[in-house]
C-alpha cells in the first residue's frame, strides 16, 4: 500500500513477505507532499476552479453585479446566438486576430530563434533582448506606447508621411486598427522563441553534418531536418499561442480606450465580454460569453491535436 503511493524517484516492487519496520522514507508521506503543494492547490481551487464554477452558475442567471442573481436558464445563451449582432462582430474580429497574429508570431519567433542558435559570445545578450518584449508586452504601459506610436502624428504616421503615404494614424482608422494590435502581438515573440531555441538545441548535429555531406543547401536542410525535428515544439507553441490569442484583451482595451472602436474594429471577444459585464452590468450574460469561449477554445485545441498526427514527428517513431 505504501509503495503504490510513492511519489519519489525509485519505485520498489512490493515485497512478498513482511519487512521489518523502518522509518517512512521521504516521498512516502503523502501528507507532507500535499502540505507543500497546498499553496498551489489552494490557489487553483480558490482562484481558478471556484470562480469558474461560480461563473458557470452565473451564466444561467440575470445578474447585475450588485443584487442577487435570478435564475433564467438558457436565456443568456439564446440571446447570445439569436439576438446580438455585436456578438458575431466580436467573434469575427477575434478570429481575424487569431488567424493573423498566431502564424506571424510563430514565424517571427522561429526566425529569430534560428538566428540566435548560432554559437556566439553575445548570444546571451541577444536572447534576453529579444525576450524582453514578451515580459513587457502584455503590460498597459507598452500598449499605451504602442497607441502613441501608431496614432496620428506618431512615429509610424510621420515616417510614412516622409515617404508620401498619408495614413492619418492607424489607431483611429478602422481599416488598420486591428493590424496595430496584430503587430503588438507579433512583437512579443519572446516566449515561443525561447522554446524554439531549446528545441533547436535538441536536434542532433549529425543530421546537419550528414546533409552537408550530401550537398543539401540551407533551404533543403531547413525543410528536411529542422522543420520535422522541430515539429513537436512547433505544435506546442501553436497550441499555446492560439489559446493566448483568443484570450487577448489588454492591448485592445488600452489602444481603443476600452471601446473596441473605431466601428467595433478592435472589439475582441474578451473586450466585449468585459463591456457587457462591467459597463452594462450584465454579468450573467458576460459569464455565458466566457463559457462559450472556453468551449470553443477547447474544441479548437482538440482539433489541433487531431491534425497533429498528420504533421508532428516525434523522434523515436522513425519506423512509422
Amino acid at each position: 500500500m505504501t509503495t503504490t503511493r510513492t511519489i519519489g524517484r525509485r519505485r520498489t516492487t512490493p515485497p512478498a513477505e513482511p519487512v521489518p519496520r523502518r522509518r517512512p522514507r521521504y516521498g512516502e508521506r503523502p501528507g507532507l507532499a500535499y502540505l507543500f503543494l497546498s499553496p498551489w492547490v489552494l490557489g487553483a481551487l480558490l482562484l481558478t476552479v471556484g470562480p469558474m464554477a461560480a461563473s458557470l452558475y452565473l451564466s444561467f442567471t440575470d445578474y447585475d453585479l450588485f443584487t442577487t442573481p435570478d435564475w433564467i436558464g438558457l436565456a443568456n445563451y439564446r440571446a447570445l446566438f439569436g439576438d446580438d449582432p455585436r456578438f458575431f462582430a466580436a467573434v469575427w474580429v477575434t478570429v481575424k486576430y487569431v488567424l493573423l497574429s498566431t502564424p506571424l508570431k510563430l514565424v517571427a519567433a522561429l526566425a529569430v530563434a534560428m538566428l540566435l542558435n548560432r554559437v556566439s559570445r553575445t548570444q546571451g545578450f541577444y536572447r534576453s533582448a529579444f525576450y524582453a518584449p514578451s515580459l513587457l508586452g502584455a503590460s498597459v504601459a507598452v500598449a499605451l506606447v504602442w497607441r502613441v506610436i501608431f496614432d496620428e502624428r506618431g512615429v509610424v504616421d510621420e515616417s510614412l508621411s516622409v515617404l508620401g503615404v498619408h495614413t492619418g494614424g492607424w489607431v483611429s482608422n478602422p481599416r488598420y486598427s486591428l493590424l496595430v494590435l496584430v503587430a503588438l502581438a507579433v512583437w512579443q515573440f519572446g516566449a515561443p522563441m525561447v522554446i524554439f531555441l531549446a528545441g533547436l538545441k535538441q536536434i542532433p548535429q549529425e543530421y546537419y553534418d550528414a546533409s552537408a555531406v550530401d550537398g543539401a543547401g540551407p533551404w533543403r536542410t531547413f525543410r528536411s531536418i529542422t522543420l520535422p525535428m522541430l515539429s513537436p515544439v512547433i505544435f506546442f507553441n501553436l497550441v499555446l499561442e492560439t489559446i493566448h490569442a483568443f484570450q487577448a484583451f489588454t492591448g485592445a482595451f488600452v489602444v481603443s480606450g476600452g471601446r473596441g472602436g473605431p466601428v467595433d474594429s478592435t472589439l475582441f471577444y474578451t473586450l466585449y465580454l468585459y463591456q457587457k459585464g462591467f459597463t452594462e452590468f450584465r454579468m450573467g450574460y458576460a459569464s455565458a460569453m466566457a463559457w462559450v469561449l472556453v468551449i470553443v477554445v477547447a474544441i479548437i485545441t482538440a482539433v489541433l491535436f487531431r491534425t497533429a498526427r498528420l504533421w508532428v514527428f516525434y523522434a523515436g517513431e522513425e519506423s512509422r
Binding site: F36, D64, G169, S172, G258, P262, V263, D264, T279
Partner: protein
C-alpha cells in the same frame, strides 16, 4: 546520508512556508489598530490632473480641521472611473465617498449600492443647496447623491481664430445655420488645418439640447425613450453635412473623443470650437487649451434654448461603507464650507450652495471667472433638470457614440445607423 538531508530540507522548507503564511496573516490584520480613533476614508472621483490638484488642497484643509480622519483619494477620467467603480462595488471594495453622475444615480441607487443621505448615519446638511438640484439626486423619494455644483451646456470658441477667419461670432438668437457658416469659414481660411468645429454628432448630451429645442426630451417621465429614429437621423444628417463640407473634424479625430482633454480636438488646436459643459474651469484652463476661449449659449432654430441647469455631479456614500458619518462630514465640508468653496472655485462647476456661490464669485479671476460670468448670464434662461434617467441610460449614451462611428466612417446609411441605435437603446433600457 541522503535521507537525512531530504528530511532536513523538508523541515527547513516547512519552516519557511509557515513563516510566509504567518507574514501573510499579519499583513492582513495590520490595518486595524485597536484603541486609536484614527479613521481612513476613501474618496474616488472623476476629473483631470488640474482638478486633482485643487481637490487635494481642499482635502488637506479638511484633514487639518478633522485630524482624526485621513482621506485617501483617487481619480480617473469619466469612462475609466465608472468601469473601475462597478468592479470595486461588485467586489465589495467600494470607496466610502464617491462621485456619482446624474446618468448613473438611478442605476446605483435602485440597486441599493448607495447610502441614503437625507436620514440615517450618512445624513448631510443640504439646507443651502438649491432644491431643484437635489431632485436630480433623488430616486424613489430617497436622496442618494448631493450635487456640490451645477453646470450647463455651453458652446466655447477660439474667438481670436474666428476673428482672423472672418467668421461671424455667436450672438443672441443665433441659429444652427449661423454656426455652420462660421465653422465653414474657419476651416476654409485655414485650409482645414484648423476645423471650425469638433464633431459633436456622437455626443448624446448635445443631441439632448437639440431635442429639447423642439420640445422633446431624451426620456419621458416614466423612463421611456422620448424620441424616434427619425430625430436621431435628422441630427446626424446635420453633423454629417458639417463633416462632409469640412466644417467639423474628420472621422479619425472624432472617433478618439472620449471626454478627456488630451483627445479633445479643441485642446489639440485641430478645431476652433466645440460643445461642452461649463464646469471644470480652473486657473489653468487657458494654459491647457493653449489660448483663451469665449463661452456662448447653444444656437437654436426654434427660439427655445433647450439648455438646463444640471447637477454637474453628485457626491454619494457607499451603502457598505463602515465610515458613513465621516464620509458625510467630508461631503458636508465640500458643499457647505465657504473656505473649501474658495479653494474648489469653479473646478466642479457653479457651487450649489447659494452662500458658497456668493463667497466664491467674489474671489474668482481668469477662466473660472469666465465660467461664473456665463452661469450668471445664462442662468435665467435655463430650464429645470429632467428627472434622473432610467437604468441603462449610461449604456444608451455610449451606444450613441459608438454607432455614430458607423456614420462618420460611412459604414451604413444614416437612417440605418439611426434605426440600429434606437433598437439597441430600447434593449438597454428594458434589460
Amino acid at each position: 546520508m541522503h535521507r537525512m538531508r531530504a528530511g532536513a530540507a523538508a523541515r527547513a522548507a516547512a519552516a519557511v512556508l509557515a513563516a510566509l503564511l504567518a507574514a501573510a496573516a499579519a499583513g492582513c490584520g495590520s490595518d486595524d489598530k485597536p484603541g486609536s480613533q484614527q479613521v481612513t476614508i476613501r474618496f474616488d472621483w472623476w476629473g483631470n490632473a488640474d482638478r486633482a490638484e485643487i481637490t487635494e488642497k481642499a482635502i488637506d484643509l479638511f484633514e487639518t480641521k478633522h485630524p482624526n480622519i485621513k482621506v485617501e483619494t483617487s481619480f480617473a477620467e469619466f469612462n475609466a472611473y465608472f468601469q473601475k467603480l462597478a468592479t470595486q462595488i461588485a467586489g465589495g471594495g467600494a470607496p466610502d465617498v464617491l462621485q456619482m453622475d446624474y446618468r448613473y444615480v438611478r442605476e446605483y441607487g435602485d440597486r441599493g449600492v448607495l447610502a441614503q443621505l437625507d436620514s440615517g448615519p450618512a445624513k448631510v446638511d443640504t439646507s443651502g443647496v438649491t432644491p431643484q438640484l437635489l431632485s436630480g439626486g433623488t430616486v424613489g423619494g430617497k436622496l442618494f447623491g448631493i450635487p456640490p455644483t451645477q453646470n450647463t451646456q455651453v458652446f466655447s470658441y477660439d474667438f481670436a481664430q474666428w476673428e482672423k477667419s472672418g467668421a461671424a461670432p455667436p450672438k443672441d438668437g443665433w441659429t444652427w445655420t449661423d454656426l455652420r457658416n462660421s465653422a465653414q469659414k474657419v476651416s476654409d481660411s485655414t485650409q482645414k488645418q484648423v476645423r471650425g468645429l469638433a464633431d459633436f454628432g456622437g455626443i448624446e448630451d448635445w443631441f439632448e439640447v437639440w431635442l429639447r429645442q423642439q420640445g422633446k426630451t431624451l426620456y419621458t417621465d416614466d423612463g421611456k425613450i422620448g424620441y424616434t429614429a427619425a430625430d436621431v437621423a435628422a441630427w446626424w444628417q446635420l453633423t454629417d453635412g458639417l463633416r462632409r463640407s469640412g466644417a467639423c473634424t474628420p472621422a479619425e479625430l472624432t472617433t478618439k473623443m472620449d471626454g478627456s482633454q488630451a483627445n479633445d480636438p479643441v485642446t489639440q488646436k485641430k478645431a476652433s470650437a466645440g460643445f461642452g459643459y461649463d464646469s471644470g474651469f480652473t486657473a489653468k484652463s487657458w494654459e491647457i487649451a493653449g489660448r483663451e476661449l469665449k463661452l456662448h449659449p447653444f444656437p437654436s432654430d426654434t427660439g427655445k434654448l433647450g439648455q438646463y441647469a444640471k447637477p454637474a455631479m453628485m457626491f454619494s456614500i457607499a451603502q457598505r461603507s463602515e465610515h458613513k458619518a465621516e464620509g458625510a462630514l467630508l461631503i458636508n465640508f465640500l458643499i457647505n464650507d465657504a473656505e473649501a468653496g474658495k479653494i474648489l472655485g469653479m473646478s466642479r462647476g457653479l457651487p450649489a450652495n447659494a452662500q458658497v456661490r456668493e463667497a466664491v464669485g467674489a474671489t474668482l479671476s481668469g477662466p473660472p471667472a469666465v465660467g461664473f460670468q456665463f452661469e450668471q448670464t445664462v442662468g435665467p434662461k435655463l430650464e429645470p433638470a429632467p428627472p434622473p434617467p432610467p437604468k441603462g441610460a449610461g449604456t444608451v449614451k455610449s451606444t450613441f457614440q459608438r454607432i455614430y462611428d458607423d456614420v462618420i466612417f460611412q459604414r451604413t446609411s444614416i437612417q440605418a445607423a439611426a434605426d440600429k441605435f434606437l433598437a439597441e437603446a430600447q434593449k438597454a433600457i428594458s434589460a
